[in-house]
């Protein structure tokens, strides 16, 4: 993985000291909240319902055991013994004290981590396929490109005061595990007929109150021109964005209002200007960064056998293990979705367990996923049983990846000051309702995603079943949406009709699932059946 050089470290250290001084001045009264708020947000520090919240960036979702142990230490020392993995592969702490925030950032800096650009009108943490460098189906590791773009855009003056936030994702497989086209700028690495590497580029995606799926704007962009192209996209947006209206500032609105064609035309025009400036990454720089992502020294001649004699283990293997590109290895997914737990939450002790596993069994490599789970990317098949036993001991061996209980939920009204309704209790109730493993397996792949308000942090627009919390005269109310997807078959979910209270929404989900079981044809997932029969049969089941 990437290692900071002296410049990275100097910048991050300087930033910590700058924030220490800003915090001191705020506490001493030299700054009021209006002056301080933008500064703390630039360092990932929000004020939430119960305390300050700190969002720590995990670049493209990759971390090592030392970093994970540091996250655990911080959870113990400065928080209440746990953290929350988010849908953007970041980690949030919920109980931070302002006076301690600079010390936390200083501790993070010792393991090459920070909270820069995890908030505000900036280019946010770049996300990537959590199987990067391991997936059997990828063309190449997408992370060198993510890292190059991270370096080129961090602290870049033109991108420091963007009209609004800007989210980038990079993948290199056909299977989309990163909700690619729900990003402002989505990059998929492909090869052309001549075998050259390039990007398929999509622009203008996003969730929030006005969801859009990113449009394809380039089928093939030669890989080494990516920075020119990205700058061109940002330049066009920066020029025209509706800075006067907070609901219209995201790039998706501009792409929509200009129209796909005109947006593309302007980007191509700016692109020519940038190409002439020669700001793209030189090959030597690409090579330097790519060297950090050299595959680990995989052993050869390993056995492909997995001893499945323990049925609980066999079940876990079937659900949680994915094919690896190296013979004898596998990708192991760790569920953070125990039945009735809080999705994405992990205790400090569990973090330490996972860090140990990564160190011993996965070349010191760990990933966070946008579905709020974790991944050990490079495990020898022969070690899977041991890994599973350790996970089980730590309460981390649920076998529910992509099943009905693998629910994404934002913090909602239990933590978030923007929320209309609680998300977590709804997720827990759904999990309890569908806890029976045979029933879960019979239902098959079904992705439920819950947001506590229109901002869509819980990806409800992309849920096979989405749930949106709304405020109905001061009480919590939930709308049901069907038919979304954040995978390669991206689609936007549609609202079924009037909303429900907390008990009602869980019943509605169950009626939806039962109707699917009645209607499905062999081999059909929920989403396939929905797409074949449409909304009406489900509406009838839900509203009678």
């Amino acid at each position: 993985m990437y290692k900071y050089d002296q410049y990275d470290q100097a910048m991050v250290d300087a930033r910590v000291e700058e924030f220490r001084d800003q915090t001191r001045r705020r506490i001493a009264g030299d700054m009021n909240d209006d002056q301080f708020k933008p500064l703390r947000l630039k360092n990932g520090l929000y004020l939430q319902l119960h305390a300050y919240m700190l969002r720590v960036a995990i670049p493209y979702g990759t971390l090592n055991s030392q970093q994970m142990r540091k996250l655990a230490d911080i959870a113990r020392k400065y928080d209440r013994g746990y953290g929350h993995f988010t849908t953007r592969q970041n980690l949030q702490y919920n109980w931070i004290k302002l006076e301690e925030a600079p010390d936390i950032l200083a501790e993070l800096a010792t393991v090459e981590m920070h909270a820069i650009q995890t908030s505000g009108e900036s280019i946010r943490n770049i996300s990537a396929d959590q199987y990067a460098g391991a997936a059997a189906d990828e063309i190449c590791d997408p992370r060198p490109w993510a890292e190059l773009l991270r370096q080129a855009t961090t602290f870049h003056p033109e991108f420091s005061y963007l009209p609004r936030k800007f989210k980038i994702a990079v993948i290199s497989a056909k299977t989309d595990r990163a909700a690619l086209r729900w990003h402002d700028c989505a990059l998929r690495i492909v090869r052309n007929e001549a075998g050259e590497e390039g990007f398929e580029v999509y622009a203008g995606g996003g969730m929030g109150r006005t969801p859009f799926i990113a449009y394809p704007i380039r089928d093939f962009l030669p890989a080494k021109q990516i920075f020119s192209y990205l700058q061109a996209i940002l330049r066009v947006w920066n020029l025209h964005a509706r800075r006067d209206n907070i609901h219209k500032q995201r790039m998706k609105i501009l792409v929509h209002e200009l129209g796909e064609e005109e947006f593309r035309r302007q980007v191509e025009e700016e692109f020519q200007n940038f190409l002439a400036l020669g700001t793209d990454f030189p090959q030597a720089e690409y090579d330097r960064i790519a060297a950090y992502f050299t595959p680990p020294p995989f052993e050869t001649g390993l056995s492909e056998e997995i001893d499945r004699s323990d049925p609980d283990f066999a079940l876990w293997v079937d659900r949680q293990v994915a094919p690896h590109k190296a013979p004898g290895y596998a990708i192991a997914n760790i569920s953070l979705k125990p039945i009735g737990g809080i999705g994405g939450d992990i205790t400090a002790d569990q973090m330490d367990v996972v860090a140990d596993l990564a160190e011993r069994y996965s070349f010191d490599d760990l990933r966070a996923t946008h579905v709020q789970n974790l991944v050990l990317p490079h495990v020898r098949k022969a070690d899977l049983y041991t890994v599973w036993q350790v996970l089980r001991e730590a309460g981390l061996a649920d076998a529910n990846l992509d099943l009905v209980t693998d629910v994404i939920a934002c913090p909602g009204l239990d933590y978030c000051s923007l929320a209309n309704a609680r998300s977590i209790p709804v997720a827990q109730e759904i999990q309890r309702r569908f806890a029976d493993m045979d029933r879960q397996l019979d239902i098959g792949e079904l992705k439920i995603k819950i947001s506590g308000c229109i901002n869509a942090c819980g990806h409800h627009h992309a849920g096979h079943i989405g749930i949106l919390g709304v405020d109905r005269k001061g009480t919590e109310n939930y709308q049901l949406l069907l038919g979304g997807s954040g995978a390669e078959d991206t689609s936007q979910a549609k609202i079924t009709g009037p909303g429900f209270d907390e008990a009602g929404i869980v019943d509605a989900v169950e009626r939806t699932v039962e109707r699917y079981r009645d209607l499905r044809e062999p081999g059909e997932r929920f989403l396939d059946t929905y797409r074949r029969v449409g909304l009406d049969p489900f509406k009838e089941a839900i509203y009678g």
């Binding site: 506490i27 909240d33 319902l49 109980w95 931070i96 004290k97 006076e99 009204l413 239990d414 001061g474």
Partner: protein, 98 residues
């Protein structure tokens, strides 16, 4: 009744105006009538509160109960972590929120 709330500047903790000072417990909150804005301006200026605002509440035998669920959750803590709420030993605390 109308009560005042906000967050402690240094710790971020949810606090309620008692009439003289700030308390962690909503039970201690006092009715500010029409003086809310003035108290907030003074307390904010003195950095004793951050992001303060006025809340409608109902007077009950157990003390003020904020009208909006968001403020009741702020008063208690996350409903999904009873162990971390201000009343961890009280199994009925959650009922007060809903």
């Amino acid at each position: 009744m109308r009560i005042l709330t906000g967050n402690d500047l240094k710790t971020g903790a949810v606090i309620w105006w008692t009439g003289q000072d700030w308390s962690l417990h909503v039970e201690d909150a006092s009715d500010v009538g029409d003086h809310g804005e003035a108290v907030l301006a003074r307390e904010d200026g003195a950095r004793r509160v951050n992001g303060g605002y006025i809340v409608d509440a109902e007077a009950t035998p157990k003390g003020p109960r904020p009208a909006h669920i968001k403020d009741r959750i702020r008063a208690l803590g996350p409903t999904v972590r009873p162990d971390l709420t201000l009343k961890p030993a009280d199994p009925t605390a959650g009922d007060w929120v809903i």
